[in-house]
Amino acid sequence: MVSCVYIETEIRDHPRARKLLERLCNLPLVEIEHYGEVFNPRAQNFRLQKKNPAIIIARKNDGHVLAAPEGYGLGGSHNYYFSHMLNCIYDCRYCFLQGMYQSANQILFINYEDFGERIVQVAAKHRSEAVWFYSGYDCDSLANEPMTEFTDYFIPLVASIDNAWMELRTKSTQVRSMLKLQPCERIVTAFSFTDPVSHAKLEHGVPSIAKRVDAMRRLIDAGWSVGLRFDPVVYHQDYQAAFVNLLDEIFTTVDPQKLHSVSLGGFRLTRDHFRKVARLYPEEPLFAQKMDLDNGIISYPLEREREMIEYCEAQLMKHIPHQSYHPCQWHG
């Protein structure tokens, strides 16, 4: 349940802001000067706020498109990310966003044209080489689609730039808007999954696996490129059987030959994020499991991680062609 709407006074008359306000007219509205006034103060409790987050309608003034962190992406040479939203409507206990910001409120940036201008500039800088733009780093790309109408603006834009590729990363089923658009093979909608046990225990508010698999199928049937992200793979005593069940559920509906890419990686967080999230949720078994610190990253001990990844890879390879597989590489 959303608690209220904050809006920067300066953008109140922006057409996209007006449309959002019409949609959110039943919620209390508070005008602010800059989103940082509400989003950045230290005296916020992320855990309490996550239950009733506010929506902040704002303009992003700089840093519209940034270089992706090392190791992020599908092996391309030029990787960038951009965030038309900050934070996510879902509440996944393993997610690094819990330790990223002071606030659980969701920011919706409405100045898409500034993002678009920068995307065009970055793509032009690399001339004819492929450039990847990842949109689901600080948010779920599609989860708020009925409100944000993100795809209406960004898909035609990226489709019009010959060397631009875009990944939409999502756990949602919000594909209706995409189904109305002309498919483009350089736009990849990547669906994230964890096994059914992890999904039930850790992914609060996320649509069921079956509904998401159906959303994937609808996109594939319409001619869109679709990817699968098994990231993070979470350890529990039944992870092997649960992962096999997940693959069965997906591949009884989805033709693996039609997948653009598949990636897989174990649970990991930076040490600072891990400590922050573990303090927020002291009762959470995920943070009480045996973990090791490696190069600033907290993850499963190497032996356990290797065993998990090898098992899951072996199961995955029974379904998908090898060339579509991209393991998540993060160890130094």
Binding site: S3, E33, P41, N45, L48, E283, P285, L286, Q289
Partner: protein, 269 residues
């Protein structure tokens, strides 16, 4: 614990009566009323007095796992009827221009409003905001000790362009009393939120028993606290876990025993 902060006794009286709070005779810096997991302090008029009252109480009750704060008082308004009640969603300090944003309670029955905190009383009302003399000092101080979700301000309009009743103490009490059920509901929501956070804290008695078992370095204590918080939030009784530690002869073995218990407990997610 919920702490009510009001400038005047007449503003606090409806709450004191509603919750049957009893005057404390042990304190003389401020008038203080006590109840079941609840306090009400009379700060005096002005933002500095309000901030001082919050700080004084926070220091005295720093052993509390979590404190929720409620500033209750009257305000002036250019447009609202006398007796209208508001939950503040923006507080602006007129002197510094500093703005604060108390988080609205989801499902609150009270409409939200901005409030300008003045150092001197004024009858020069603007349409779009309430006027008071405490909220910015209250919230500045309370946010040092709690989060914005646990810090609320409720203001009842006592003065507008047509009527000024803010100096009539009985009338002030009556205006607040008229809204006491809604105020009580808002307080209940705040208490429920606060319990969620307080419930995660380590019980100080069992913690003392635990650290008395061996000599722990600060680093070991940090690790111990993480493990203990986890196990105590997973329906283990402190007695049972402490019993399992009786045979441990050193800090390291206590920690490794607790780690083993945590790993076993977390296997199933």
């Amino acid at each position: 614990m919920l702490i009510w902060v009001s400038a005047l006794h007449c503003e606090a009286k409806p709450v004191i009566d509603y919750y049957r709070l009893k005057k404390s005779h042990d304190d003389n810096a401020f008038d203080l009323y006590r109840g079941d997991d609840m306090l009400c302090i009379i700060s005096g008029v002005g933002k500095i007095a309000s901030a001082a009252a919050c700080a004084w109480l926070a220091a005295r009750y720093d052993h509390e796992a979590s404190i929720a704060w409620m500033n209750l008082g009257v305000a002036g308004s250019g447009q609202h009827e006398i007796g209208a009640a508001f939950s503040l969603n923006q507080v602006i300090d007129a002197d510094s221009g500093q703005r604060y944003y108390p988080v609205p309670c989801a499902g609150s029955l009270l409409p939200g409003s901005a409030c300008l905190t003045l150092s001197q009383s004024s009858e020069d009302y603007r349409e779009d905001t309430l006027y008071d003399m405490e909220a910015s000092g209250f919230i500045y101080s309370a946010l040092r000790f709690s989060s914005a979700e646990l810090t609320q301000c409720i203001k009842i309009v006592s003065d507008n362009r047509a009527h000024q009743t803010g100096k009539n103490r009985q009338r002030v009490s009556d205006l607040i009393h008229q809204n006491i059920d809604t105020i009580g509901q808002q307080a209940n929501a705040l208490i429920a939120l606060n319990k969620q956070i307080a419930g995660l804290a380590v019980n100080p008695e069992s913690w003392q028993q635990l650290i008395a078992l061996a000599h722990f370095s600060q680093t070991q204590k940090n690790r111990l606290r993480v493990l203990w918080r986890y196990l105590m939030n997973r329906d283990n009784s402190a007695e049972t876990v402490l019993q399992k530690l009786r045979g441990c002869s050193s800090a390291a073995t206590i920690i490794s025993t607790l780690e083993l218990l945590s790993y076993q407990d977390s296997e199933g997610l």
